[in-house]
């Protein structure tokens, strides 16, 4: 069952002052559609400025789209800051990269985890205490961690607290924005395993946003590849990584060093992602694309089906 559906979402931010000349816009997200199924993980991968974080914020209703709609459990998201939106936020939670910024450093771990319960008016103080203990245990922390402050914990422990806090009101959707990027490999593995365990246990839908293709491949059932605000390819995780169809996905997969081979299958990709304030005409990828032709410079390719389980936006892919 589809838990979350983004339908042709666009979000642009005005640049500079409106007083001088025509207004310029940064188009962060341009016509993105994606689904998150219940109990499944959709991964969004892309380089900086591709709009992956903005997409996550729109999915939670933290950012209104300029056009397009967000359906959660089949219904449009209520207007931001309305009472119904607040009530719904209980169902959808966010985990992100910077745990020190996410946790109020003047609150103890127990108080931090109990806060969302109080906000949503869940249970009385005794049952909240009980629930906090369960949550601490569930994310692999002991009750003695409850009395500590965020700065007394390691990065991995703090990410566990953030996760416990997100799980407290029993959400059905978790949006994870770079949840393991700041962590060391061994701790990253702990958190990834924990996320997958929690998902299996609670049947959570996960929108997992990361620049790290390895991690995204590992956790995701479906992968959405974004470039300059647009989806260039999406489909089943294995298919996308093992047989990427879009030239950008091919380059991204080949730029991931393999163990033990390194860059054995490297496809050279010149240049760097352009700024979203200055988007090229036609296909946004054409200035870096090794296969670009005239049609790519002139018209924007649509996201069209390739086989039954994949969509690709490229003029040169035979649909």
């Amino acid at each position: 069952m589809t838990l979350l559906r983004l339908n042709n979402i666009t979000r642009r931010f005005p640049l500079g002052s409106p007083l001088y000349g025509p207004r310029k816009y940064l188009v962060a997200v341009d016509g993105v559609s994606l689904d998150v199924e219940m109990g499944r993980t959709t991964g969004i991968v892309g380089e900086s400025g591709c709009g992956k974080s903005t997409t996550g914020r729109i999915a939670l209703g933290l950012e209104p789209p300029d056009s397009g709609g967000v359906l959660f459990q089949g219904f449009p998201l209520p207007r931001i800051d309305s009472n119904r939106w607040r009530a719904q936020r209980r169902q959808m939670q966010l985990v992100f990269q910077d745990t020190l910024a996410a946790l109020d450093r003047r609150m103890t771990v127990s108080a931090l985890i109990a806060e969302p319960l109080a906000i949503h008016g869940i249970g009385d103080s005794a049952s909240r205490k009980q629930r906090v203990a369960e949550l601490l245990h569930g994310v692999g922390l002991g009750e003695d961690h409850g009395v500590l402050y965020p700065h007394q914990l390691s990065g991995g422990q703090r990410q566990r607290v953030v996760l416990a806090r997100a799980l407290a009101p029993k959400p059905s959707l978790l949006v994870c924005d770079e949840p393991v990027s700041a962590l060391d490999v061994s701790v990253q593995a702990q958190i990834v395993n924990l996320l997958m365990d929690v998902q299996q246990e609670l049947g959570l839908g996960l929108l997992f946003i990361s620049h790290d293709l390895r991690v995204v491949r590992h956790v995701s059932d479906r992968i959405v590849v974004m470039y300059l605000g647009r989806v260039v390819e999406q489909g089943r995780a294995d298919a996308i990584i093992d047989q990427p169809a879009h030239p950008y996905t091919q380059a991204l997969v080949s730029a991931m060093p393999r163990l033990p081979g390194g860059f054995d299958h490297y496809v050279a990709l010149p240049g760097e992602p352009p700024s979203p304030t200055d988007r090229p005409s036609g296909c946004p990828f054409h200035p870096r694309c090794p296969l670009a032709r005239d049609v790519c410079r002139q018209s924007l390719p649509e996201l069209l089906p390739l086989g039954s389980e994949r969509q690709v936006a490229c003029h040169l892919v035979r649909h």
């Binding site: 061994s186 390895r214 590992h218 033990p260 860059f263 490297y266």
Partner: protein, 343 residues
């Protein structure tokens, strides 16, 4: 230029075998018993390491393992409060405790270093041309048109297009990847025997990371300088280096040729570290999560990894392992290996 495959790379084969050949060619740098402490907190517990001429060596480990501190101590880049012991020989010169005037000539000259964040390593108010020619003047005595021509050649070597016009740009006008290329050009200005790259691509996007790693590899092979790449990313090290050292809690726990280290690691930490990396292809298996965290201040009485090690036995908690040669160029610091009871 970046599109080379490394199938024919003779990097490893050309290197002298450890032990036999090492006496014939002097290493580019040899570090022995290097110790560092900040106040009463020791961070390096005796690092022994030789980097051969023309070799690309990777140093891998998690935050706080001492991989950066090792090289900062060698180059005298640590704050005054650091207590440093041991030696680091480059030729006949010991860099540990060397005078500032000596270090000034070595740094940027015989040994160059690049860092994670190029934007903060470059001076924002000077044009990049001036920053490259400064290095050329200091270390090669070039000035005027000769320096400018050489700066132009260096930019070209690091893959910056339209090099002559780029000399007049400021760092903020360039992207992160281009700034890292400029840093590499500055590092190459002194024709170093050894380039130390400390997490050179951690701040860069995936496709740009690959470009820079392959550029470093190309330059190392073309110039014949030695390269030390410090990274938390074993896969990045695999892409560039011939040989790799794994560090844990201020010690080297395993050293081996890259392929051996990745396909037949002996130290439990190395194995766990490899198991913790999500594979890029093949079936998806549960990741190895290493329980606990590295020791924060003082080492435990036995092996530093014992509290987290799945193979630890009683002796691991009481006595400290010494490095043991298990094959040519492959050494491991593990007591279970010594006892022959592991595996």
């Amino acid at each position: 230029m970046l599109h080379k495959s490394f199938q024919n790379s003779a990097g490893a084969a050309l290197l002298p075998a450890h032990g036999i050949g090492a006496s014939a060619t002097k290493p580019a740098i040899s570090i022995a018993g290097l110790r560092v402490a900040f106040g009463d907190v020791p961070v390096l517990h005796g690092v022994d390491l030789a980097v051969n001429k023309g070799e690309a060596l990777g140093i891998v480990g998690e935050s706080g393992c001492g991989k950066s501190v090792t090289w900062r101590a060698v180059l005298g880049l640590l704050p005054k409060s650091a207590e440093i012991g041991g030696e680091a020989r480059i030729g006949d010169l010991d860099l540990v405790g060397a005078r500032q005037s000596v270090l000034d000539r070595v740094r940027g000259g015989r040994i160059a270093m690049i860092f994670q964040d190029p934007a903060s390593a470059l001076n924002p108010v000077h044009r990049i041309g001036a920053q490259i020619t400064e290095a050329l003047r200091l270390h090669r005595g070039l000035s005027g048109a000769a320096a400018r021509a050489e700066a132009c050649r260096l930019l070209d070597q690091v893959g910056i297009a339209a090099a002559a016009s780029r000399l007049n740009t400021y760092p903020h006008e360039l992207s992160g990847g281009q700034n890292q290329r400029v840093m590499i050009a500055i590092a190459l200005a002194g024709r170093p025997e050894l380039l130390i790259a400390d997490e050179p691509t951690t701040a860069l996007d995936a496709t740009v990371q690959a470009q820079i790693l392959l550029l470093l590899k190309d330059i190392q092979r073309d110039t014949g300088m030695a390269l030390v790449m410090i990274s938390h990313d074993l896969a990045a090290v695999a892409a560039v280096c011939d040989r790799a050292c794994v560090m844990y809690a201020g010690q080297i726990v395993e050293t081996a040729p890259k392929h051996t280290l990745l396909t037949a690691p002996e130290h439990p930490y190395t194995r766990d570290l490899i198991g913790a990396i999500p594979p890029s292809h093949g079936p998806r298996m549960r990741l190895t999560a290493i329980a606990g965290a590295p020791p924060q201040r003082n080492l435990p009485p036995g092996c530093a990894y014992a509290p987290r090690c799945r193979h630890a036995i009683a002796v691991c908690r009481t006595s400290r392992p010494e490095p043991r040669q298990v094959a040519a160029r492959h050494s491991v610091r593990c007591l279970r290996l010594d006892a022959g009871t592991y595996q």
